[in-house]
Amino acid sequence: MARMLLLLWSLGPMLWQLYSSLRPNEALSGMGTGGWTLEHYRQLLQSDPPFLTTLLNSVVVGASSTALTLALAVPCAYALSRLGRRQARALSALVAAAAAFPAVLLFLALLELARDWHLANQLLALSLPYAGLCLPLAILLLTAAFADIPIELEEAALIEGMGLWQRLRWILLPLMAPAIASSGLLVFLFSWNEYPIALTWLSRSDLLTLAPAMARIAGSSVYTIPYGAFAAATVLGSAPLILLMLLFQRQIISGLTQGAIKG
């Protein structure tokens, strides 16, 4: 019973979007019964710029942000887990506070940054603020995972004469794979969903990522809106994420919960 309620609560709104996206507008507004239609999807895919471009932009930003975040967070987390207790504690507290900070409060300064350094309307440049915003969570997750690796393992490798780079490459990273995967996924989710910074950094419509593109679709009046097209956009916009969640549920959930326990 309670399970059915939870399912209905979680899926209901999404199923309603799916249903609306497949019905002609007349049927949605009570005039005529209409059948089923793919018209809304056709419109969306042929709009200018096509919706697939928007999705592709989000993928590009997501992938580059994830790569940059991990490249910075892995060495940092390693060092943090090997640092003395007092310093590591103080740094982790600051990092945890940054993880909770609402990113929107930074938009104005970041906008000026984009203006001064000519970073606006460049998809790859967006990974700079995104990596910065995701670093706190990634560092917390990875530090906890590094701390779980027994130090003896590394000492043994040290005796074998392995340098830092070799130890990272052959001993630490393989053991870290699950933690790296879950932090990477969380970063990807974040950048796929981020709105205020994308909104202020990107103005060319062919460069928009998903979140600002959705808001632009919503930009018209609240009352006279082609809701079928809206619904189709929400369905296409969430489909990749739902797929990602279903594929990587274990990593995402463990990443989230580890973040809570250790952070």
Partner: protein
């Protein structure tokens, strides 16, 4: 390993963190003492504390503060209650539990702007499903998005839908750390389910509840995406949040000095509330420790 090499490994990440978090706040401190708007030709002109005086006397700032607090208080407390319920449900050994867990987490994973658009359609008057249901039940339509007394509740509903799964997952992680023999011992002593919830679960879950509250409170006080897409701050400014007001000042009124002041003001409110929450928790847990 030598200490300086550790710091060298951390340097790039720390530098980016400073640039993204610390530098903006410093920049706002400076910008809030400047007039930089259309009136000054978008050039910064020092004006001392005038922006802060203006903030103090700005009715819209105080109204938005109240609206943001109202929204945060309502949505965070709802999310905690529902999140706890969902976490308790998911903690029970059921068949299909991991699938249920994934499905219940889906709302959290969807972009806020995407579902805000979806909610606009769901709340539509008269064609949205809720109003159609009300009509079938013979009740009047509910103007979710056009009545200032109701719209903020619609926003709370949409926010609760999206972030309850996140809270539930955090609390579930907490539940999994509680050893089950505690419950078995309590059951042997004849404790009811309610008693073991109150005496075992809740006290041991407090650290997780606190983390969830602090995190959610900070995020809710900065609410922006949802409000901007769902209501645009309307009707009649009744759902405008502090972040949205700051955004409008920068992007629509081109008043950068005041926008920075508003952002710092929001940050101060956030620090005050989250700091108080953390202190109260510390203080009360110390008190409990002494009583024991």
């Amino acid at each position: 390993m030598r200490r300086w090499r550790l710091w060298l490994l951390m340097a790039p990440a720390l530098a980016l963190l400073l640039a993204i978090f610390a530098a903006p706040l410093m920049h706002y401190l400076w910008l809030s003492t400047q007039a930089q708007s259309v009136l000054t030709g978008l050039k910064p002109v020092p004006i001392g504390a005038q922006q802060w005086l203006r903030l103090w006397n700005d009715g819209r700032f105080w109204q938005d503060t109240w609206q943001t607090l109202r929204f945060s208080a309502a949505s965070v407390s709802l999310e905690m209650l529902l999140g706890l319920a969902v976490a308790l449900l998911l903690h029970q050994p059921l068949c299909g539990r991991s699938l249920l867990r994934t499905i219940s987490l889906l709302p959290w994973a969807l972009p806020t702007t995407v579902m805000a658009l979806g909610w606009r359609w769901i709340f539509n008057d008269p064609y949205g499903p809720i109003n159609q249901l009300l009509a079938v039940l013979g009740l009047g339509a509910m103007p979710f998005l056009s009545n200032p007394n109701v719209t903020w509740l619609a926003a709370v509903g949409a926010d609760t839908w999206k972030t309850t799964p996140f809270v539930a997952l955090l609390l579930l992680a907490g539940l999994q750390t509680i050893p089950s023999d505690l419950y078995e011992a309590a059951a042997l002593e004849g404790a009811t389910a309610w008693q073991s919830l109150r005496r075992i679960t809740l006290p041991l879950l407090t650290p997780y509840l606190l983390i969830a509250v602090l995190f959610r409170l900070a995020q809710a006080l900065g609410v922006f995406d949802l409000i901007q897409v769902l209501t645009g701050g309307g009707p009649a400014g009744s759902t405008e949040s502090l972040a949205l007001y700051a955004y409008l000042n920068a992007m629509r009124f081109l008043d950068f000095g005041y926008s920075a002041t508003l952002l710092l003001g929001s940050f101060a409110i956030l620090l005050l509330l989250c700091g108080t929450a953390a202190l109260v928790w510390r203080w009360s847990s110390r008190l409990q420790g002494e009583l024991r």
